[in-house]
Amino acid sequence: MKDGGFENKKELENSKNQSKSSKFYIKSDDFALAIAKVAVAQVCESVGFQSFQHSALEALSDIIVWYIYNLGKTANFNANLAGRVEANVFDVIQGLEELESGLGFAGASDVNRCVANLGIVRDIVHFVGDGDDIPFAYEVPWFPVVKEWKGIGSFWEKGEDPHEEHIPSWLPAFPDPETYAARSSVGNGTMTASNEVKNGLLRVERKIERPLLNFQQQFAHNGNEGGSSHVVGDKGKAKEASNSNPYLAAPLHFGEKEVHVSPVHYG
């Protein structure tokens, strides 16, 4: 009985780790949730509480996050319904009415009503006027932080010339030929496109596989010149292939090329 219980607990933990909820309860925004908890704690303190249970605070902060989210969703929906992309104050107030609809809304039945005479708006005005405002306890940075992404750069930016006519110069440039590992039998899996990995691998390659690198460089240069003694087989096809993409070149038969087999050490 005990073992069975323990197994179940393990399975439960595993399932918790694996299952990422697809609904709104995404716990990946821990930072925002923590800020919400602090804000809720401050409001509770101003109301008169001296301490709280952790579960109660988490539940309440979850609920106000849901409240903000739902208010935004409703206001956006109202704006879209009116054929607008940007929401305005009337959308927000209508959203507020919807959220408070369980308690009823005063003044909503008048046809020629002014929005400022609505019960909800008046309540907010009273709320704002009554207490002193308590600013948030911490300095909150703008989030989520947007990292600057530096791309590879286009052909034109790099000053390179795209090898084929069908490749326009505003497309991102191909990676350098040194990073191709198609020709060797070492199989060191350097087929990556990212710059950082490429640089790291380049360093590794330079340290260990200098002969291979030189060979590949020679191959690339010779490929550009068009036709060389290194390439055995269909010369025309190989020349075309080496110009555009070494993966598409004709396959080599065993023993055609002298290849340096060296052990590859990473890290």
Binding site: I35, F52, A56, L60, I64, A116, P135
Partner: protein, 144 residues
């Protein structure tokens, strides 16, 4: 014609009332920071360059939290008042007002939010039984 002019004047008053209201919002600094509100509004697809609307949402949320907390406080105080008349000692200890899950779920129920917690977790057959009968039951289980 007169009716039209009257309604136009009425509209101007309405507009000024609304803009006054929004202006008063900017003086008040809500406890919920603008960045948090903007983050969740952006998540929901709400798009507005006007800061006053963000403040409006923040103030409305703060008002909601304050109301819920207030109701929970009333429940807490009511419970303390019911207990105090029995023992004087408890009065000293229970002066601390604690936000409990119980009070919170009661006050949230009025707003249509159902937050229910399990009263106990039965991980063994003896959970939930008072200690007096628990020993008896334990001995009975051992014997069987």
């Amino acid at each position: 014609m007169n009716h039209n002019r009257q309604s136009n004047d009425g509209k101007h008053d309405d507009d000024s009332a609304l803009s006054d209201f929004l202006a008063s919002l900017m003086d008040y600094t809500p406890t919920i920071p603008d960045e948090l509100v903007e983050h969740y509004l952006a998540k929901s697809g709400f798009q507005c360059p006007d800061v006053r609307l963000i403040r409006l949402v923040a103030v409305a949320t703060q008002k909601f939290v304050a109301e819920v907390a207030n109701d929970a406080l009333q429940h807490c105080k009511a419970r303390q008042a019911a207990v105090v008349k029995d023992k004087r000692e408890k009065q000293q200890k229970d002066k601390r007002l604690i936000l409990t899950m119980d009070d919170l779920s009661k006050s949230l129920l009025e707003y249509g939010v159902n937050v229910k917690q399990q009263e106990y977790f039965a991980d063994s057959p003896l959970t939930g039984i008072d200690p007096a009968t628990r020993d008896e039951v334990r001995i009975m289980l051992l014997l069987c």
